[in-house]
């Protein structure tokens, strides 16, 4: 059976156009873009083009874009650079719902004399911005807030937060790994200092990322080596992946209007279909203020891993915030930060769509999922039809 892939916040399919763009650089054009000869130089020109395409997606100047190996490297580079250029400041502000790339790094820094303020979110997953502004101090070296949350899709008011940071002269970084390509990400309008992106979330390959560094931002490299990326990130370029990412960025920009509208209408169809046919189902996140592709639902009285494996029988791919899928025993830190009760967090499923999903696939999930939930609930000692709400 064909795979019904609705786990695009985890990773995406490589677009055929992206693959075609990359192929020559995995075969005949193997030159080093730094070389003096024409053979290498022609590769260098394609990298210039890729940089321009990425810059256009986020409305940056190409010189402000550096290529990295992944979103996590971009996040690490940004945060360490901000701290290194403000050695006297020991305070970091971030949120309680960041991706592990930021969350675990900041927890690590907490052990090394840094003080971290973790900004809470409300029940719908929206950020408590006033809490953030109240905690800006003269000791604050950096504010890092994700553009959109990977689990719920909730979008944060980046332009407003960055303005508050800027007024205090504090560096502002945003992890836009989930937002880029799904909603308009404009670094000039939002006036951010640094921004992270990842290739494989926008239909390019895994193993390539982007760090935007606004002109004039103090920076120190994480990877020290050759003069590549103007000395801001040493190491021979991951040529084919970068060229593929350029193409993917160009396509993502083209999809931002009608393409994402289409994704949103499919997502809404899935949401309505499932909420209608499965009782005791809760939407996690803010219905209005969300990425167009993300749907996070909690099916009460059943456990997420069991749902995923039952769906796997039909080759339906999604993910869960349940403890059993995480390798630890605690359910998603994002859902817990939102105050979603453990009981619902264990039964949470995230569907994340892309431009490659179809109405037929959505209807297939709407058809297959209700009996799965019903079967698991029949097995559950907590499930009593019709009386559950009272518990």
């Amino acid at each position: 059976m064909d795979v019904v892939y609705m786990d695009n916040n985890a990773t995406t399919a490589v677009a055929p156009e992206v693959k075609d763009e990359m192929l020559p650089f995995m075969t005949e054009y193997y030159g080093n873009p730094s070389s003096m000869h024409t053979f290498g130089g022609q590769v260098g020109r394609k990298i210039v083009e890729a940089r321009e395409r990425v810059a256009q997606l986020i409305n940056a100047d190409p010189s402000e874009v550096i290529f990295t190996s992944c979103g996590t490297e971009s996040d690490n580079t940004a945060i360490r650079a901000a701290l290194a250029s403000n050695p006297d400041k020991k305070h970091i502000i971030t949120t309680r719902v960041e991706h592990p790339a930021i969350k675990n790094l900041c927890e690590n820094l907490e052990k090394k004399h840094y003080h971290v303020t973790w900004v809470p979110v409300d029940k719908k997953g929206n950020l408590d911005c006033d809490y953030l502004y109240d905690h800006l101090t003269d000791d604050t070296a950096l504010v890092s807030v994700m553009w959109a949350n990977n689990e719920t899709g909730v979008v944060f008011p980046i332009a407003e937060i960055s303005r508050h940071a800027r007024e205090r002269g504090i560096v502002f970084h945003t992890d836009a790994v989930q937002a880029a390509g799904k909603v308009s990400v404009d670094v000039k309008a939002a006036e951010v200092d640094m921004l992270s992106m990842s290739g494989h979330k926008i239909h390019a390959l895994k193993g390539v990322g982007v760090l935007y560094i606004r002109k004039g931002t103090k920076f120190s490299p994480f990877m020290i080596g050759g003069h590549q990326e103007q000395g801001r990130r040493g190491g021979t370029e991951n040529v084919a992946s970068i060229i593929g990412l350029g193409k993917a960025a160009q396509m993502a920009k083209a999809h931002l209007g009608a393409g994402m509208e289409q994704v949103k209408s499919l997502r809404d169809r899935l949401e309505q279909g499932l909420l209608k046919s499965i009782p005791n189902t809760i939407l996690n996140g803010d219905k209005q203020n969300r990425l167009p592709n993300t749907l996070n639902l909690s099916f009460e009285y059943v456990e997420g891993e069991a749902i995923l494996l039952m769906m796997d029988k039909y080759s339906i791919c999604a993910s869960s915030g349940s403890a059993c899928t995480s390798g630890s025993l605690e359910p998603s830190h994002v859902l817990r930060a939102m105050g979603v009760p453990f009981t619902a967090a264990h039964g949470s499923i995230r569907f994340s769509l892309s431009v490659y999903n179809t109405e037929k696939e959505v209807d297939f999930v709407i058809e297959k999922l209700p009996p799965i939930i019903a079967k698991l609930r029949q097995m559950s000692p907590f499930w009593k039809e019709g009386t559950c709400r009272a518990q």
Binding site: K111, K112, H113, Y301, V302, E303, G304, E305, A306, L309, M310, K313, S322, A323, C324, T325, G327, S328, L329, E330, P331, F342, T343, H346, Q378, M379, S380, P381, F382
Partner: protein, 275 residues
Amino acid sequence: MWEYTDKVKEHFINPKNVGELPDANGIGEVGSMACGDALKLYIKVDENDRIVDVKFQTFGCASAIASSSALTEMIMGKPLVEAEKITNDDIADYLGGLPKEKMHCSVLGKDALKKAIEDYRGVAAAGPEGEIVCECFGVTDKQIEEAVSENHLKTIEDVTNYIKAGGGCGNCHEKIQEIIDTFYKKPGVIVPKPRKLTNIAKIKLIEDTLDREIKPALMQDGGNIELVDIDGDVVFVKLKGTCATCSASQLTLKNYVEIKLRELVAPGLVVEEVK
């Protein structure tokens, strides 16, 4: 993705003996929704003390459902005295093994069976014996000791994999370690007392802690540290690399190295720098 055996998958997709048993004369309930898994086991025992019918209801992941289903197959038709002997390892073996992170699912089965038999025999349904150690999952010291003893668990991670204790906030890790240490130090009477290190163990632990925790952290900032000597509770060290010339090195020494060593080795330690 977890690597489940075909037998686990089979029992998960087509579980046996699901549902309630209205004429059950023994019911065992363990776990809770907050924990992420729960099992309610119904047994019907005849006048010859033989299990003649069994049903289950489970809230949990694939391996919890499979373990419950396997358990019902294993005890169906068995005399109580035989069913009683089933351990969590037996359940896991019946399924062709479980990922080690999922062993707690088989423990769930064993515990539910024990409770159902107790219920049938009319033994007062007491709560778990002992004092709660893991607040997150409500696990007591007795339960941890039992799991350590039955399954030869050696580390906190093992304990978490089997009975979840320590898998939440992590505040109880020290206590779990104590229970493990105490268990392997007997036989004889267990006198719970704060762990006192012998000299050789202390030196070893200081070395390990420096290598594992402290050096990597300092090296990230271009520094390093070397152990010179240990005299009683005084640890003499030499700072190297950027640390040797850093104006904040005393701060690093007292606020980081000393605190880390006190936390991980012994509370009375003092760190002194040797130039």
